[in-house]
């Protein structure tokens, strides 16, 4: 992966490997002979239909694909309604890292476990709502370094690349015989302004 490109999973990407490693709840629809070892709470040799387990996502994806589903996948709890409500209420207040290290990546896989598009929508909503927070974090070099602990890995990537670019720019601005410095009144010009669509123009 080029350092200058944005994150996109591929077979060799560690983040994708780790994301698909996450434990995902599922229910066996068929008896699975000699798979009893997967269930730590029993000594039986076979796994019976109806058993509910948490398995790595990559296994669940495979076992639930095709005509003859072996397991029925379920949404991990952080994508279920109770958690979605928390994100809808105020996504910026959430410690997403605690939800899951790979909130968006895992979400992009498991959202198909739900027929409706609720998970899809909450992923988009969460990312969009939290962007300002990430941007402000990346722009304020001096802000509390522990704040980034609340970001998931995708957000951290964005934060880090943004922060590095901002630091370089600040160095460039200061790095001359006589630095360009701000007047006090401009430092106060931080009020948020409502802007039009064509504002860049």
């Amino acid at each position: 992966m080029l350092s200058t490109t944005s994150y996109q999973p591929n077979y060799f990407s560690i983040d994708d490997i780790l994301a698909t490693q996450e434990r995902t709840p599922c229910k066996f629809l068929q008896n699975a002979p000699r798979m009893g070892k997967l269930n730590p709470s029993t000594d039986e040799k076979d796994l019976k239909a109806g058993t509910e387990l948490e398995l790595p996502l990559w296994l669940v994806l495979d076992a639930s694909a095709g005509r003859q589903m072996i397991v029925a996948p379920e949404l991990p709890k952080i994508y279920r309604e109770a958690y979605r409500e928390i994100l809808k209420a105020d996504a910026t207040a959430v410690d997403l890292h605690k939800f899951n290290l790979y909130f968006y990546e895992l979400g992009s896989y498991v959202k198909y476990f739900d027929r409706r598009e609720d998970v899809h929508n909450i992923l988009l909503h969460t990312f969009i709502t939290r962007f300002r927070f990430i941007m402000d974090l990346a722009n304020n070099a001096d802000s509390d370094p522990t704040v980034q602990n609340r970001l998931d890995m995708l957000e951290r990537r964005l934060f880090k690349s943004g922060h590095i670019a901002r630091t370089k720019l600040n160095t460039w601005l200061l790095d001359s015989g006589a630095p360009l410095k701000a007047a006090n009144m401009v430092t106060n010009h931080r009020k948020r302004k409502r802007v039009d669509d064509d504002l860049f123009a």
Partner: protein, 218 residues
């Protein structure tokens, strides 16, 4: 000796390009800068411009040879040297960026080159780059085969592709009508670009214009 042979090094030179226009050296440097930026920001490797690279390399080699004749006391020597360094930076950064992409996407790039040859269309890599890509790809393949014998063919089946949807900034060099905005929905909004317009847009929407030189990335 003040008036050295530097003049002879800067006569306007013919350069082949699609329109068969004769470009002056300042225009060629401008073109090199644009191609440097294109290569910097485009997700995929672009058709090479080794014609410009070679031409500029010739120029700076001649100039540097001539510089040896110039007295160190001459204030112009430092300036000439600075220009040489600037052009050299441009070229090496350009070539390095291409190598970076060739290393990352070697298998895919080689496949595309192969199909370009089959279709009789112009290849994107220079001969040197092609050899490098083949050797690089070969060594990766051998490496995987020796340490991951249990996954045969992994480099062929697990391709790393550039993300062509990546967002890029561009400046248009001409008026262009009807560019489709690739916004991930099925609505196909169109935009027109005027000469000199600057926009942020998906690379996928404009890659043909980047390759044809109607726009350049910034």
């Amino acid at each position: 000796m003040d008036e050295i042979d530097i003049e002879s090094a800067i006569n306007d030179v013919d350069i082949d390009n699609d329109e068969e226009v004769q470009l002056s050296l300042p225009e060629i440097i401008q073109l090199m800068e644009e191609n440097w930026l294109n290569e910097k920001f485009s997700p995929e490797v672009l058709p090479n411009r080794m014609d410009i690279v070679e031409l500029l390399l010739d120029q700076i080699t001649t100039l540097e040879n001539n510089l040896k004749k110039l007295s160190n006391a001459d204030f112009k020597k430092g300036l000439y040297q600075m220009e040489v360094d600037r052009i050299r930076f441009l070229i090496s950064s350009y070539l390095r960026k291409r190598l970076e992409k060739i290393e990352t996407y070697s298998t895919v790039i080689l496949e595309q080159e192969k199909s370009r040859v089959q279709q009789g269309s112009e290849t994107y890599l220079s001969q040197n780059e092609l050899e490098f890509a083949q050797e690089y790809d070969q060594s990766i393949r051998e490496h995987f085969e020796s340490i991951m014998r249990f996954c045969p063919g992994i480099t062929e089946t697990q391709l790393i592709n550039p993300n062509l949807h990546t967002m890029v900034f561009l400046k248009s060099k001409e008026d262009i009508e009807g560019i489709v905005i690739d916004d991930g929905n099925d609505e196909n909004d169109l935009i027109d670009l005027n000469k000199g317009s600057q926009v942020l847009i998906s690379y996928k929407s404009v890659n043909n214009f980047v390759k044809s030189g109607n726009v350049h990335l910034i």
